[in-house]
Structures are given as structure tokens and as C-alpha cells.
Symmetry: C2
Subunit: 218 residues, 2 copies
């Protein structure tokens, strides 16, 4: 894989709408890479996703990578540049709270390779003893978290507990000094202003699907 | 809840980038509604999500709903108008393939209320007998699907099987005449051009989270 040339532009603040679109381009590029496509262009990406070519071109410029005339971008290089721009080239250490169906599914997802997330541990109130492994990730009883955090650096807390317990978990991780929460519950969390909370949603693709279906009905 | 006034605009083709943003506004409005907020405006929405106010205003105009001067939009009315615009006011009948961790989590998600999706049945190769209920949804052996589809209308097939089986499931549902697939696997599916496939992704919010974290590091 070629080394990605990234200018200082990648270290400037990227507006959130651009970040959201970059993550959509990322997923498209992953599928192009799997299909062994070597090169792509802002026009091709715009065409598939129905964005305006000028917008895709401007977004990709935010990565600091420059496309070559007529050839466009190397798919793998562009993928790396986007990952760097949205923070997925750094491996964020994460812990997960709530090892139910969704929690287990997330622990088993190939995060590290593409999304810069490494699950270091999981916590659940039903864990009877410490250090059970699920998908090679140790699962501790939630009461062990305050001990755990003394010896481990954690970037992101992922919350997949039942919604009525989500605020308690949020309070606990905020007290422990964790500054970023990825919330998979329907609970809307109250946290201090220096803590980042993002609510996970996987329904943007559903909106595209149902809207296309609706069009066919009219 | 007031009746939403929606003009014929809602029945025109909505560009996909607008559909994606509308689904993001939808999730924000759900959280405002839960916080008992009555009214909002394109400026407030733009401010929270860091979009340009003019873009939010134009997007919301696509719903056909008109904001009132100084008051803005009624949160519930706007939510309903957006749902109508992206096809979430219609209840799509869905079946799910692969009742593992992720599949079970999806079956247990409150789809109907907000996202216009109703799971009518699920299929799994490990189902030993027909009509087991999981979260009140019947789970059949996958081999029963061809019988099932003769008597049931299905709008959307949701695929959560292991990736190596995803194409087989896709072939089966396409043969059965299903025209929309929501693919949660990492497999990239080959389907005829008249079948809609959307690959689910819940990482857009992760991109926002990791990018905000990255900014703090520089």
C-alpha cells in the first residue's frame, strides 16, 4: 500500500457535515477496494451517491490529498487519507457497557482495521467473575470499572445497556474522566459540556432505502 | 398531535443527500421531542448539527411543511412531515435473515413507531421448528422462506447472516420478488438493477465522535 501524502490541511478543523460525508465516502471506498477497483474520482463518487461533483471534490480536498489529472485518486490512498481526516487512523481505546445482543454484535465487529476503535474491555452487571473473554475481549462485572480505569487509558465509552441504566453508566464514566461517549441507547444523556456524546444511528441507509421504495409507489 | 400539512412537494423525488440529512434531522427532532421541546427552527437545527441555516431551511422545504414566522416549526409536525418525506410514515413489511446477536438486537428495536419498519418474520438456519417467537416475531427455518413468501407480502429483506452466506440469501429473496434489501453484512451483494440494496452503517456518528476527539489532540 502506497504511503498517503497528507498536507497540513488534514490537521485543520473539518466541518461536521464534511466529516459525515467523508464517512459515507469511506464506506463506498471500502466496497470499491473489495471489488479490486484501483482508481476513482470525485465524479464517480458523486455519481454513485448522487452528490454534486463539486461538493465531493471540495470534501476530498479537506483530506489534503490531491487527485491526479485523468487518473483521479488511488482508492487505497484516498481511504487512508479519509481515515486520517476523520480520526480513524488513530486507534481509540474503547470500553463497552452492556454485553447483550447489540453489545456482543459490536464486540464482534471488525473495528480496528477500518474504524480506528479497539475494544479493550467490556462491562456487564451479569458478569459473575472477572476476565471472561467474549471474542477475545475481557468482560468484567460493572462494579470493577472504577478499579479498571485506574490502570487503563480509555478514549471512548460505548453504551449498550438498557436505556434506563444509560445515564448511570454515563455518570460513572464521566466521573472516571472519559471524555467521549458513543451512545447506542435511546436515552438522551446529560453530560458536562467538555464530554462529547454522539448518539449512534444506523437508519440513514434505511432512509435512502425507504425513500427509494416510496418513489416507486408514486 | 396536530395534523401535518404536507403539500404535493412531498411526493416529488427528494435528492438522496437531502434524504440523508432529513434522517439526521429526524433523530435530532426525536431527542427534542423527548425533552418536551415544542418548537424549533432551521436556525436551531443548523446550529446544533453545524449545517448552514440556508441548507436546513431548503431541506425542510422539501417536506412541504412551512415554518411559521418567529415560531418556526412544531417539533411533532416537522417529525411527521420528515417521516412522510423519507418513507417512514408507511409501515414497510420486513423479514430478517440471521437471528444472531445483531439480528436479535434489530428484532428488539422500536422500529414501527419511528422508522416505518415492521418485522413480520425472521429466518435462521438453526431454527429447529417453525414459529418460535423472538420478541413476538415468529422465527422459521430458512428453508421455510419459499413457502412463507407465497402467502405474505414483503417489502424489505434485512440480512444479518454471516457474510459468506449473504449472497445466497440475497439470491433467494430476489428470486422471491423482494425489491429492497437492507444489508448489515460486510459482503457487497450483486443483485439485478431493479432491486435496491442499501448497506447499513452506524459509523457516521463514530466519525463525528473520533474527529472531535482528534481535534482536541492537535
Amino acid at each position: 500500500m502506497g504511503k498517503t501524502e497528507v498536507t497540513s490541511a488534514a490537521e485543520k478543523k473539518t466541518p461536521l457535515p464534511v466529516v459525515r460525508r467523508l464517512s459515507i465516502y469511506h464506506d463506498l471506498l471500502v466496497s470499491l477496494k473489495e471489488k479490486k477497483v484501483k482508481n476513482t474520482s470525485s465524479t464517480i463518487i458523486a455519481d454513485i451517491l448522487e452528490y454534486k461533483p463539486i461538493q465531493v471534490r471540495k470534501d476530498l480536498e479537506m483530506t489534503g490529498l490531491v487527485g491526479k489529472p485523468k487518473i483521479g485518486y488511488d482508492v487505497e490512498e484516498l481511504l487512508e487519507a479519509i481515515k486520517q481526516c476523520i480520526g480513524w487512523s488513530y486507534q481509540h481505546k474503547a470500553v463497552l457497557f452492556g454485553v447483550g445482543n447489540l453489545g456482543s454484535a459490536l464486540l464482534n465487529y471488525p473495528w480496528m482495521m477500518e474504524y480506528g476503535l479497539v475494544f479493550e474491555a467490556a462491562f456487564d452487571t451479569s458478569a459473575v467473575r472477572s476476565n471472561i473473554l467474549i471474542y477475545n475481549i475481557p468482560v468484567h462485572h460493572t462494579s470493577y470499572f472504577n478499579e479498571y480505569i485506574k490502570r487503563h487509558k480509555v478514549d471512548i465509552a460505548v453504551i449498550t445497556v438498557p436505556p434506563q441504566f444509560a445515564q448511570d453508566v454515563a455518570n460513572m464514566v464521566v466521573s472516571a474522566g472519559i471524555k467521549a461517549i458513543w451512545n447506542f441507547t435511546v436515552a438522551r444523556l446529560k453530560v458536562p459540556s467538555n464530554v462529547i456524546v454522539e448518539n449512534a444511528s444506523f437508519t440513514i441507509s434505511l432512509a435512502v432505502l425507504t425513500q427509494k421504495l416510496s418513489e416507486r409507489k408514486f
